[in-house]
Amino acid sequence: MRTLVLTNFKLRRNLREKLSTFWMKCCYVLVLAMPFVLLTGLLIKSSLLFGEKSLTELIFSSEWKPMSGKFGFLPFIISSLWVTFISVIIAAPICLLTAIYLTQYARRVVLKIMQPVIDILAGIPSVIYGVWGIIIIVPFVSKVAGWFNVHSSGYSILAGAVVLAVMIIPFILNILIEVYRTIPIELSEASLSLGATKWETIKKVLTRKAFPGIISSFGLGVSRAFGETIAVLMVVGNVVHIPTGVFQAGYPLPALIANNYGEMLSIPMYDSALMLAALILFIMVTIFNMGSRYIIIHYEKKI
């Protein structure tokens, strides 16, 4: 009797093991397949447009008239680049200085206070950032434009970039803190005992050591900023033209998709064009993402 119960149990145990391992493998395959599925899906949907026009024509033309079948992505790509790079230029020094301060100078209490601040900032939904942008940043940018004798509603590239900068700060900062924290203490000790001051040590030794990490954190910031949708969309103005100044309105790629998708299903070419926008977004973001990770893995050992 006892043995029978045990054999039965053994069978069930075996089955349980097999089933759970099988399910784990399914999840594993799902994740491995996901990027390819995404890529293929977007490619298939945008292929309709490729059939009609060459890629260079699409990317380098600035004429966007979906109703008459003209799809020039240049205004959107340029807007995306403006917003993204200005936001990283704003966020980068703030993050770098704060990371150095928190890891090298500040007392532990400050870090303890900052950790939740960074976490909360990272957790705030992008629509909230957008609301904040409309309440504070847009009027502010409009005023600043006035100082330069430029008329601006405030809904502009700069407003988008400022909002975006605040959004990516927690993201970049967390990586930078980690980068500085993993530098072995012996390295500063060696430099300090050669008579360097603390600042010299940070400037010439630590930051040199951290350099690949710093670059890749900025690259990851770019990839994060490039795809951000709602917050930017709410403050950037959404006018189709090639912007020539930061106080002008822009129309980044994610905003293009968000504003038009779903409603334009009836025109297959339009649908296809928006999928191409998503594809461009996917590729750009992935290049920056992977490139940054490559830098940190590849160059960290060499310094």
Binding site: V5, L6, F9, K10, R13
Partner: protein, 253 residues
Amino acid sequence: MINEAKIKIENLNLFIGNNHILKDINVKIPEKKLTVILGPSGCGKTTLLKSLNRLTDLYPEIKIQGKIFNGDEDILHPKTEITELRKKMGLLAQTPYPLPMNIYDNITYGLRISGRRKKRFLNKRVEYYLRQVSLWDEVKDRLKDPASALSIGQQQRLCLARGLSVDPDILLADEPTSALDPISSREIEELFVKLKQRYTIVMVTHILRQAKRVADYVIFMYLGEIIEHGPAEQIFEHPKNALTKSYIQGTYS
């Protein structure tokens, strides 16, 4: 002189990456005796111990060749049912790793996963094994407390009881006292002396005095090779090899 051999190791070679960690190990481990694997740190003692129940499976880059027999089952054979085999060998690690559950469940875990569910049976077993390691009186009123609340010496004894609970016939111990204070170490040693009546015990240590106190049989290793092995008196009193001799006399450690 030696009872029947419990474990037979034949031509065991082990590599981590390109490093030859264990070289041509050939040895028999006697049944129901306490065998000590002795040697300076980093000579492959722990690796040898872990290959006995194939914990080496968990490490990347380990390549292993040769045969290890427990009875007539080849432990290293890929088709061997390893979970059943591991149950027959209790492990006591360098530092105690209680499972993340309460004291009671730490003991019953092994029984439950092999299908024993009856409350009365489990209660009895918990008391029995905790008494075996002289822990019962200390913890009987707080069996539902997390195991991590125990002192480190108590945790190690709990781990020993947990290892006994699945009814193994071999105990593997990897420097089981190295994280403990002298009193707890002593308690563990005494337990081992008591338990070797009933279990085949393999213990790794680099503490010579400890080896002298507990060993029946000694395997002396140096740089991945077995230099000498034999009954304790013989190794400690009349070592044949010069390396063994100088180690025993404390020239290096």
